[in-house]
């Protein structure tokens, strides 16, 4: 591609089961402006190599064979019984109305018995395909059976450009992969886009940890796409830190296919000025006794806005599964807009789905405590905003991530860099 064509993805990051349209929270609209140059802008270090884009597909195909062996296709009699059950269920529950678009789609997906088809992208398959096209060569981080691999990928945004990294992670049985991603750019710039599309395959008993830190300047948009597959006993941990960019789109979809698979997501974000934050999470529990935890903590200031869609789908057969989602949002100013849409879909008994949200201003007892230490309400609110950045710097897993956070901190609060002069140098 020589440069971008103007393009709009109308239903990006769509939640699996739509809710009332008037809430305006079902999906996001991602606009690609015309004329952005395609930049490489990607640096990679560690156990990572370009090419090998089919390694993940091969791993998924192998998993498909293993899964089919463990889960034989239903017999004709079983299918007939299932169809009769669904019909009766629809009659009893919905007074004989047709299945919703979501229910029909979910039923068809399950019926297809294809792990590849069920391997979804958080921002949507259409946007993900576009990002992979822009990225060109895919980076592969692979750990062989029982081995460990680690890699750092930095995407550097540029003015009037689109910079994207496509990364596949294949963690074979019993292996460990640590991946750090930094999406960074200098201060205010004319329009541009930076992003990543990451596919993760965690084989049996594998552990994958991904930390993605986004510190783009104003004027840029960030697209963060992830697709996860967790085999039996696999653990995938993802930490996403969203601090910069005028607009950010974070989408993650995961298939907890194997029994005892575990996925945890830790999201931290800051919204200031008129920044827009969009998050879409969809975790589908297929395996028995699978577990997912989504935790989001954010601060919204100025006239920023945020929508978070979190879907836990407890699919038929996932007995003993447990999913939980929790969000804490601090609304610093009156002008902010916050939407939190937790959805728990359940098609199995003996499962648990929990959600909770703490949304609001600083509690009175917290304010008094801070005041008793000399902090006015304004000072307390400023402290909450800068604390998100400071915590991100403290938790940064690589020096590149820490430096990026500190640079952003300095832009947000002059003098911030001095706090980390020893660590950053």
């Amino acid at each position: 591609m020589m440069g971008t064509q103007a393009q709009t993805f109308e239903r990006a990051s769509a939640m699996p089961a739509a809710t009332w349209r008037f809430l305006g929270a079902n999906d996001a609209q991602i606009e690609i402006p015309a004329g952005l140059s395609i930049q490489a802008g990607v640096k990679a270090e560690g156990n990572v190599r370009a090419g090998g884009a089919d390694a993940l597909d091969r791993a998924l195909a192998d998993a498909q064979a293993a899964w089919e062996a463990a889960h034989p296709a239903p017999t004709a009699a079983e299918e007939a019984e299932r169809a009769a059950y669904l019909a009766a269920e629809a009659d009893a529950t919905y007074g004989g109305t047709a299945l919703s678009a979501y229910q029909s789609g979910a039923d068809a997906l399950e019926g297809a018995r294809s792990l590849a088809k069920a391997f979804e992208h958080g921002v949507g398959n259409e946007v993900a395909a576009y990002l992979r096209d822009v990225a060109g060569d895919c980076l592969l981080v692979k750990a062989e059976n029982g081995q460990a691999a680690s890699a750092e990928v930095v995407v550097e945004a540029a003015s009037q450009a689109i910079s994207v990294a496509a990364i596949d992670v294949v963690a074979e049985q019993g292996s460990t992969v640590d991946l750090s991603i930094v999406v960074d750019g200098p201060g205010a710039q004319p329009a541009g886009i930076a992003g990543t599309t990451v596919r993760i395959f965690a084989g049996e008993g594998a552990r994958v940890n991904v930390a993605r830190t986004q510190t783009l300047g104003e004027g840029h948009a960030d697209i963060d796409d992830m697709a996860l597959f967790a085999a039996e006993g696999a653990h995938i941990g993802v930490r996403q830190t969203v601090l910069g960019a005028s607009k950010s789109f974070t989408g993650l979809a995961g298939d907890l296919r194997g029994d005892f698979a575990h996925v945890s997501i830790d999201t931290r974000y800051l919204g200031m000025g008129d920044q827009e934050r969009d998050f879409n999470y969809a975790l589908r529990h297929h395996g028995r006794k699978t577990e997912s935890v989504m935790q989001a903590n954010g601060v919204l200031a100025g006239e920023s806005s945020k929508t978070l869609r979190g879907t836990i789908d407890l699919v038929r057969g996932c007995k003993g599964a447990e999913g939980s989602e929790n969000e804490t949002v601090l609304l610093v100013d009156e002008g902010v807009h916050n939407k939190t849409v937790p959805v728990i879909l359940c098609n199995e008994d003996d499962v648990a789905g929990n959600h909770g949200a703490t949304i609001g201003h600083i509690r009175n007892e917290q304010l008094f405590y801070l005041a008793s230490r000399g902090l006015s309400q304004a000072a307390a609110e400023a402290m909450f905003a800068s604390a998100i950045v400071e915590q991100a710097a403290l938790d940064a897993d690589t020096s590149a991530a820490r430096s990026a956070v500190v640079r952003l901190g300095e832009r947000v609060a002059p003098g911030f860099a001095g706090l980390f002069e020893e660590e950053v140098g």
């Binding site: 509690r363 009175n364 005041a371 230490r373 000399g374 402290m383």
Partner: protein
């Protein structure tokens, strides 16, 4: 009123949601002294501490509070803090999302003290070690997952960092084991040594007072200060309890104030 009273409240009454809790409390604490406020559960001791600090949950319905020569009855709590008043909380709140060190820095900057980062980190680290506290706590979210003892140590750390003119310690010793109690006592001594600090200690436990020279004891019952006396009053209460004050607080107030 003594001429050198650092804190003086006179005729102080306060209510929460229209329910009167404090009734015409008179109290004076001189600069550099150690005062102890004792009383049975529910007497209003913690309420007095919060009202002196300006907790907006309480309404001052009568009386006045003077601190360091100024009337602070209507002053906002953050301004009282910056004027040199400190309240150590019985149950310190948790502040998720804010690392302890960020909070401490914001606290110091609120007083116009711009310490260089290295100096600030060194100072907070030293104080943490002095209080037998793992410095790793400085990078953790304020109070989140801290034990009761660690929370109280964090209160003492703030006391030593701020060095206020007067510190009200609201049952800082409650729920502490012997080791943590010793650390907190040490913190109080350090505070006194560092800045000739003034203390108003709200406690049930006389053990925390063992290493302090108590100047004055106040006994509160049912929202009133019903007795005052020298340090020997602590031993009397230790032996006899509050029964004689609880029997007829109003009468006792007349006879026991001395």
């Amino acid at each position: 009123m003594t001429s050198d009273a650092l804190l003086r409240c006179r005729g102080l009454s306060a209510a929460v949601e229209e329910k009167a809790i404090l009734h015409e409390v008179n109290l004076e604490v001189a600069q550099g002294q150690v005062h102890v406020l004792m009383g049975p559960n529910g007497a209003g001791k913690s309420t007095l501490g919060h009202v002196l600090m300006g907790d907006p949950a309480y309404e001052v319905t009568a009386g006045e509070i003077f601190f360091d020569g100024a009337d602070i009855t209507e002053l906002a709590p953050d301004k009282r803090s910056r004027a040199g008043l400190f309240l150590s909380f019985q149950a310190p709140v948790e502040i998720p999302g804010v690392p302890l060190r960020s909070f401490l820095r914001a606290m110091m900057e609120g007083r116009g003290e711009k310490l260089k980062n290295k100096e600030f980190r060194r100072k907070t680290q030293e104080l943490a070690e002095t209080l037998d506290m793992d410095p790793a706590y400085l990078d953790r979210e304020l109070g989140v997952g801290f034990s009761g003892g660690e929370k109280k140590k964090v209160e003492m750390l703030q006391l030593l960092l701020l060095q206020p003119k007067l510190a009200i310690l609201d049952e800082t010793d409650s729920g502490l084991d012997v080791d943590a109690l010793s650390v907190v006592s040490h913190g109080m001594e350090l505070y006194r040594e560092a800045c000739d600090g003034t203390l108003l200690i709200i406690t049930h436990n006389t053990r925390i007072l063992e290493h302090l020279n108590v100047d004055r004891v106040h006994v509160m019952v049912a929202g009133r200060v019903v007795a005052e006396g020298p340090a020997t009053l602590i031993d009397e209460i230790d032996a006899q309890g509050f029964e004689r004050y609880e029997a007829a607080p109003a009468d006792a107030a007349e006879s026991a104030l001395r």
